[in-house]
Protein backbone atom coordinates (compact mmCIF):
# COMPACT_ATOMS: atom_id res chain seq x y z
CA UNK A 1 0.00 0.00 0.00
CA UNK A 2 1.46 3.43 -0.88
CA UNK A 3 1.83 6.12 1.77
CA UNK A 4 -0.99 8.24 0.38
CA UNK A 5 -3.50 5.39 0.69
CA UNK A 6 -2.21 4.70 4.19
CA UNK A 7 -2.68 8.38 5.01
CA UNK A 8 -6.28 8.34 3.79
CA UNK A 9 -6.96 5.11 5.68
CA UNK A 10 -5.66 6.76 8.86
CA UNK A 11 -8.04 9.68 8.32
CA UNK A 12 -10.91 7.20 7.98
CA UNK A 13 -9.81 5.40 11.13
CA UNK A 14 -9.68 8.73 12.97
CA UNK A 15 -13.27 9.56 12.00
CA UNK A 16 -14.77 6.19 12.94
CA UNK A 17 -12.86 6.26 16.24
CA UNK A 18 -13.88 9.79 17.19
CA UNK A 19 -17.63 9.45 16.53
CA UNK A 20 -18.34 6.78 19.19
CA UNK A 21 -16.19 8.75 21.64
CA UNK A 22 -18.01 12.01 21.00
CA UNK A 23 -21.68 11.20 20.40
CA UNK A 24 -22.80 9.82 23.79
CA UNK A 25 -21.11 12.50 25.87
CA UNK A 26 -22.28 15.35 23.66
CA UNK A 27 -25.86 14.09 23.40
CA UNK A 28 -26.39 12.80 26.94
CA UNK A 29 -24.58 15.30 29.14
CA UNK A 30 -27.08 18.09 28.49
CA UNK A 31 -30.21 16.12 29.40
CA UNK A 32 -31.42 14.15 32.37
CA UNK A 33 -31.46 10.44 31.76
CA UNK A 34 -34.26 8.05 32.71
CA UNK A 35 -33.40 6.60 36.16
CA UNK A 36 -32.98 3.07 34.81
CA UNK A 37 -30.42 4.17 32.21
CA UNK A 38 -28.60 6.22 34.82
CA UNK A 39 -28.45 3.21 37.17
CA UNK A 40 -27.31 0.98 34.32
CA UNK A 41 -24.50 3.38 33.40
CA UNK A 42 -23.19 3.24 36.95
CA UNK A 43 -22.28 -0.42 36.39
CA UNK A 44 -20.44 0.26 33.14
CA UNK A 45 -17.07 1.27 34.65
CA UNK A 46 -16.78 -1.86 36.81
CA UNK A 47 -17.92 -4.09 33.94
CA UNK A 48 -15.72 -2.57 31.26
CA UNK A 49 -12.62 -2.39 33.49
CA UNK A 50 -12.81 -6.07 34.36
CA UNK A 51 -13.68 -7.04 30.78
CA UNK A 52 -10.44 -5.41 29.69
CA UNK A 53 -8.36 -6.58 32.66
CA UNK A 54 -9.25 -10.27 32.99
CA UNK A 55 -8.01 -11.42 29.57
CA UNK A 56 -4.68 -9.71 30.19
CA UNK A 57 -4.06 -11.44 33.52
CA UNK A 58 -5.56 -14.92 33.15
CA UNK A 59 -4.72 -15.69 29.54
CA UNK A 60 -1.33 -16.48 28.14
CA UNK A 61 -1.68 -16.67 24.40
CA UNK A 62 -5.01 -18.43 24.04
CA UNK A 63 -4.78 -20.44 27.23
CA UNK A 64 -6.27 -19.87 30.65
CA UNK A 65 -3.41 -20.36 33.06
CA UNK A 66 -2.80 -19.93 36.75
CA UNK A 67 0.66 -21.45 36.74
CA UNK A 68 3.51 -19.67 38.49
CA UNK A 69 4.84 -18.50 35.15
CA UNK A 70 1.71 -16.40 34.70
CA UNK A 71 3.30 -13.51 36.57
CA UNK A 72 0.59 -11.05 35.59
CA UNK A 73 -2.00 -13.05 37.49
CA UNK A 74 0.04 -13.62 40.64
CA UNK A 75 1.29 -10.03 40.76
CA UNK A 76 -2.33 -8.88 40.64
CA UNK A 77 -2.86 -10.23 44.16
CA UNK A 78 -0.34 -7.97 46.00
CA UNK A 79 -1.45 -5.10 43.75
CA UNK A 80 -5.04 -5.68 44.81
CA UNK A 81 -4.13 -5.89 48.49
CA UNK A 82 -2.13 -2.66 48.37
CA UNK A 83 -5.01 -0.95 46.57
CA UNK A 84 -7.49 -2.13 49.21
CA UNK A 85 -5.24 -1.13 52.08
CA UNK A 86 -3.77 2.17 50.91
CA UNK A 87 -6.25 3.39 48.28
CA UNK A 88 -3.21 4.72 46.44
CA UNK A 89 -3.12 4.28 42.68
CA UNK A 90 0.55 5.08 42.42
CA UNK A 91 1.53 2.83 45.33
CA UNK A 92 -0.41 -0.12 43.90
CA UNK A 93 1.13 0.26 40.47
CA UNK A 94 4.66 0.53 41.87
CA UNK A 95 4.19 -2.60 44.02
CA UNK A 96 2.72 -4.54 41.07
CA UNK A 97 5.59 -3.57 38.79
CA UNK A 98 8.20 -4.35 41.45
CA UNK A 99 6.75 -7.82 42.03
CA UNK A 100 6.89 -8.55 38.29
CA UNK A 101 10.40 -7.13 37.91
CA UNK A 102 11.78 -9.04 40.91
CA UNK A 103 10.10 -12.31 39.89
CA UNK A 104 11.57 -11.97 36.40
CA UNK A 105 14.98 -11.22 37.83
CA UNK A 106 14.88 -14.28 40.10
CA UNK A 107 13.61 -16.63 37.41
CA UNK A 108 16.25 -15.25 35.08
Amino acid sequence: MDQKTIFLTILGMAVVTYIPRLLPVSLLSSRSLPPLIFDWLRYVPVAVLSAMLFPSIILQGHQVTFGLDNLFFWAAIPTLLVALKTRSLFGSVVVGMMVVAVARYISG
Binding site: L22, P45, V46, L49, A51
Partner: protein, 240 residues
Amino acid sequence: MDTTSPTKARLVKRGWLTGFAQAIPIVLGYISIGIAFGVLAQKAGLSTPNTLLMSLLVYAGSSQLIAVGLFKAGVPALSIIATTFVVNLRHMLMSAAVSPYLRRWRKAELAAFAYQLTDETFAVHSVRLATGRPVKSEVFAINALAQVAWILGTWLGIMLGGLISDAQPLALDYALPAMFVALLVFQIKDRIQVAVALLAGLLAVGLLLSGVDRWNVMLATLIGASVGVSLEKWTKKRSS
Protein backbone atom coordinates in the same frame (compact mmCIF):
# COMPACT_ATOMS: atom_id res chain seq x y z
CA MET B 1 -9.52 28.90 60.80
CA ASP B 2 -8.70 29.20 57.20
CA THR B 3 -10.45 32.22 55.85
CA THR B 4 -8.53 32.64 52.65
CA SER B 5 -10.14 30.70 49.84
CA PRO B 6 -7.79 29.65 47.09
CA THR B 7 -8.04 31.80 44.01
CA LYS B 8 -9.27 30.26 40.80
CA ALA B 9 -5.81 30.37 39.29
CA ARG B 10 -4.44 28.44 42.23
CA LEU B 11 -7.17 25.84 41.97
CA VAL B 12 -6.42 25.39 38.30
CA LYS B 13 -2.72 25.05 39.02
CA ARG B 14 -3.35 22.50 41.72
CA GLY B 15 -5.59 20.65 39.26
CA TRP B 16 -2.72 20.34 36.80
CA LEU B 17 -0.40 19.02 39.51
CA THR B 18 -2.88 16.41 40.78
CA GLY B 19 -3.59 15.48 37.19
CA PHE B 20 0.08 14.89 36.50
CA ALA B 21 0.40 12.63 39.54
CA GLN B 22 -2.67 10.62 38.50
CA ALA B 23 -1.31 10.22 35.01
CA ILE B 24 2.03 8.61 35.96
CA PRO B 25 0.94 4.96 35.51
CA ILE B 26 -0.69 5.80 32.18
CA VAL B 27 2.45 7.61 31.05
CA LEU B 28 4.69 4.62 31.89
CA GLY B 29 2.34 2.23 30.12
CA TYR B 30 1.79 4.39 27.06
CA ILE B 31 5.48 5.09 26.49
CA SER B 32 6.28 1.39 26.51
CA ILE B 33 3.33 0.30 24.36
CA GLY B 34 3.91 3.34 22.12
CA ILE B 35 7.47 2.13 21.52
CA ALA B 36 6.15 -1.30 20.54
CA PHE B 37 3.67 0.35 18.18
CA GLY B 38 6.34 2.56 16.60
CA VAL B 39 8.63 -0.40 15.98
CA LEU B 40 5.86 -2.52 14.46
CA ALA B 41 4.55 0.31 12.29
CA GLN B 42 8.00 0.86 10.80
CA LYS B 43 8.36 -2.84 10.11
CA ALA B 44 4.93 -2.86 8.46
CA GLY B 45 6.13 -0.16 6.05
CA LEU B 46 4.35 2.92 7.39
CA SER B 47 6.27 6.17 6.86
CA THR B 48 7.36 8.15 9.92
CA PRO B 49 4.79 10.95 9.36
CA ASN B 50 1.99 8.42 8.89
CA THR B 51 2.97 6.52 12.03
CA LEU B 52 3.02 9.68 14.13
CA LEU B 53 -0.20 10.89 12.54
CA MET B 54 -1.97 7.70 13.56
CA SER B 55 -0.98 8.24 17.19
CA LEU B 56 -2.09 11.86 16.94
CA LEU B 57 -5.41 11.39 15.13
CA VAL B 58 -6.62 7.87 15.94
CA TYR B 59 -5.08 7.59 19.42
CA ALA B 60 -6.43 4.18 20.37
CA GLY B 61 -3.70 1.68 21.18
CA SER B 62 -5.18 -1.72 20.52
CA SER B 63 -6.82 -0.68 17.26
CA GLN B 64 -3.58 0.93 16.07
CA LEU B 65 -1.66 -2.27 16.72
CA ILE B 66 -4.33 -4.30 14.91
CA ALA B 67 -4.32 -1.85 11.99
CA VAL B 68 -0.56 -2.13 11.61
CA GLY B 69 -0.90 -5.90 11.30
CA LEU B 70 -3.62 -5.45 8.67
CA PHE B 71 -1.55 -2.90 6.68
CA LYS B 72 1.30 -5.38 6.66
CA ALA B 73 -0.99 -8.17 5.45
CA GLY B 74 -2.21 -5.93 2.62
CA VAL B 75 -5.82 -5.83 3.78
CA PRO B 76 -7.92 -3.26 1.83
CA ALA B 77 -8.36 0.20 3.36
CA LEU B 78 -12.10 -0.11 3.91
CA SER B 79 -11.74 -3.33 5.92
CA ILE B 80 -9.07 -1.69 8.07
CA ILE B 81 -11.42 1.22 8.76
CA ALA B 82 -14.34 -1.11 9.50
CA THR B 83 -12.21 -3.20 11.89
CA THR B 84 -11.05 -0.04 13.66
CA PHE B 85 -14.67 1.03 14.07
CA VAL B 86 -15.69 -2.27 15.65
CA VAL B 87 -12.67 -2.46 17.94
CA ASN B 88 -13.19 1.11 19.18
CA LEU B 89 -16.95 0.99 19.56
CA ARG B 90 -16.52 0.19 23.26
CA HIS B 91 -15.63 3.86 23.83
CA MET B 92 -19.32 4.61 23.28
CA LEU B 93 -20.13 2.95 26.57
CA MET B 94 -17.38 4.84 28.36
CA SER B 95 -18.46 8.15 26.86
CA ALA B 96 -22.05 7.46 27.97
CA ALA B 97 -20.91 6.43 31.46
CA VAL B 98 -19.08 9.70 32.18
CA SER B 99 -21.76 11.91 30.61
CA PRO B 100 -23.84 12.47 33.78
CA TYR B 101 -20.78 14.04 35.45
CA LEU B 102 -20.04 16.51 32.66
CA ARG B 103 -23.29 18.38 32.77
CA ARG B 104 -22.01 21.94 32.90
CA TRP B 105 -19.28 21.52 30.33
CA ARG B 106 -19.26 23.53 27.14
CA LYS B 107 -19.54 21.81 23.76
CA ALA B 108 -15.94 22.58 22.84
CA GLU B 109 -14.72 21.15 26.15
CA LEU B 110 -16.74 17.99 25.62
CA ALA B 111 -15.35 17.67 22.11
CA ALA B 112 -11.79 17.97 23.38
CA PHE B 113 -12.45 15.56 26.23
CA ALA B 114 -14.01 12.94 23.95
CA TYR B 115 -11.07 13.14 21.56
CA GLN B 116 -8.72 11.90 24.28
CA LEU B 117 -11.03 9.36 25.88
CA THR B 118 -9.14 6.09 26.01
CA ASP B 119 -9.58 2.93 28.08
CA GLU B 120 -7.01 4.18 30.54
CA THR B 121 -8.06 7.82 30.84
CA PHE B 122 -11.63 6.59 31.25
CA ALA B 123 -10.53 4.25 34.02
CA VAL B 124 -8.95 7.12 35.96
CA HIS B 125 -11.73 9.63 35.26
CA SER B 126 -14.58 7.29 36.14
CA VAL B 127 -13.16 6.83 39.64
CA ARG B 128 -12.41 10.53 40.16
CA LEU B 129 -15.64 11.86 38.69
CA ALA B 130 -17.82 9.58 40.78
CA THR B 131 -16.21 10.69 44.04
CA GLY B 132 -16.85 14.39 43.60
CA ARG B 133 -15.92 16.83 40.95
CA PRO B 134 -12.29 17.11 40.02
CA VAL B 135 -11.43 20.45 38.49
CA LYS B 136 -11.46 20.52 34.73
CA SER B 137 -7.79 21.35 34.59
CA GLU B 138 -7.05 18.05 36.34
CA VAL B 139 -9.08 16.08 33.81
CA PHE B 140 -7.39 17.81 30.89
CA ALA B 141 -3.94 17.47 32.47
CA ILE B 142 -4.38 13.68 32.63
CA ASN B 143 -5.64 13.57 29.04
CA ALA B 144 -2.91 15.79 27.64
CA LEU B 145 -0.12 13.99 29.42
CA ALA B 146 -1.43 10.60 28.35
CA GLN B 147 -1.50 11.51 24.69
CA VAL B 148 1.90 13.20 24.83
CA ALA B 149 3.28 9.97 26.32
CA TRP B 150 1.63 7.93 23.57
CA ILE B 151 3.11 10.10 20.80
CA LEU B 152 6.49 10.23 22.52
CA GLY B 153 6.51 6.44 22.81
CA THR B 154 5.57 6.10 19.15
CA TRP B 155 8.39 8.45 18.18
CA LEU B 156 10.91 6.58 20.35
CA GLY B 157 9.83 3.33 18.72
CA ILE B 158 10.38 4.80 15.26
CA MET B 159 13.79 6.24 16.20
CA LEU B 160 15.13 3.29 18.09
CA GLY B 161 13.67 0.67 15.81
CA GLY B 162 14.74 -2.77 16.96
CA LEU B 163 17.38 -1.43 19.33
CA ILE B 164 15.20 -1.69 22.39
CA SER B 165 12.91 -4.62 21.95
CA ASP B 166 12.66 -5.47 25.60
CA ALA B 167 10.81 -3.43 28.20
CA GLN B 168 10.52 -6.56 30.34
CA PRO B 169 13.30 -6.07 32.90
CA LEU B 170 11.62 -2.87 34.09
CA ALA B 171 8.17 -4.47 34.12
CA LEU B 172 6.83 -1.47 32.23
CA ASP B 173 4.43 -3.86 30.54
CA TYR B 174 2.72 -4.32 33.89
CA ALA B 175 2.00 -0.62 34.51
CA LEU B 176 -1.41 -0.70 32.84
CA PRO B 177 -2.66 -4.09 34.13
CA ALA B 178 -1.66 -3.00 37.67
CA MET B 179 -3.46 0.30 37.17
CA PHE B 180 -6.62 -1.50 36.09
CA VAL B 181 -6.46 -3.76 39.16
CA ALA B 182 -6.20 -0.75 41.48
CA LEU B 183 -8.90 1.29 39.74
CA LEU B 184 -11.21 -1.70 39.76
CA VAL B 185 -10.71 -2.01 43.52
CA PHE B 186 -11.53 1.71 43.93
CA GLN B 187 -14.71 1.29 41.87
CA ILE B 188 -16.12 -1.66 43.77
CA LYS B 189 -18.35 -0.59 46.65
CA ASP B 190 -20.72 -3.52 47.22
CA ARG B 191 -21.36 -7.19 46.50
CA ILE B 192 -23.34 -6.59 43.34
CA GLN B 193 -20.35 -4.80 41.88
CA VAL B 194 -18.08 -7.70 42.82
CA ALA B 195 -20.48 -9.99 40.96
CA VAL B 196 -20.56 -7.67 37.94
CA ALA B 197 -16.75 -7.50 37.86
CA LEU B 198 -16.35 -11.28 37.99
CA LEU B 199 -19.11 -11.89 35.47
CA ALA B 200 -17.92 -9.30 32.93
CA GLY B 201 -14.28 -10.34 33.31
CA LEU B 202 -14.93 -14.05 32.88
CA LEU B 203 -17.36 -13.42 30.02
CA ALA B 204 -14.73 -11.35 28.22
CA VAL B 205 -12.28 -14.25 28.57
CA GLY B 206 -14.86 -16.84 27.52
CA LEU B 207 -15.94 -14.87 24.47
CA LEU B 208 -12.35 -14.31 23.47
CA LEU B 209 -11.61 -18.02 23.71
CA SER B 210 -14.67 -18.87 21.63
CA GLY B 211 -13.47 -16.63 18.84
CA VAL B 212 -15.44 -13.42 19.54
CA ASP B 213 -12.25 -11.42 19.71
CA ARG B 214 -13.42 -7.97 18.61
CA TRP B 215 -16.76 -7.64 20.34
CA ASN B 216 -15.85 -9.43 23.55
CA VAL B 217 -15.25 -6.36 25.74
CA MET B 218 -18.42 -4.68 24.54
CA LEU B 219 -20.65 -7.72 24.91
CA ALA B 220 -19.24 -8.57 28.32
CA THR B 221 -19.82 -4.97 29.47
CA LEU B 222 -23.40 -4.83 28.18
CA ILE B 223 -24.29 -8.14 29.83
CA GLY B 224 -22.38 -7.37 33.05
CA ALA B 225 -24.00 -3.95 33.55
CA SER B 226 -27.46 -5.33 32.74
CA VAL B 227 -27.12 -8.17 35.22
CA GLY B 228 -25.83 -5.67 37.80
CA VAL B 229 -28.78 -3.31 37.48
CA SER B 230 -31.24 -6.25 37.49
CA LEU B 231 -29.71 -7.63 40.68
CA GLU B 232 -29.93 -4.18 42.23
CA LYS B 233 -33.65 -3.82 41.41
CA TRP B 234 -34.35 -7.37 42.53
CA THR B 235 -32.63 -7.04 45.92
CA LYS B 236 -34.32 -3.67 46.52
CA LYS B 237 -37.72 -5.16 45.79
CA ARG B 238 -37.09 -8.05 48.16
CA SER B 239 -35.95 -5.86 51.02
CA SER B 240 -38.76 -3.33 50.68
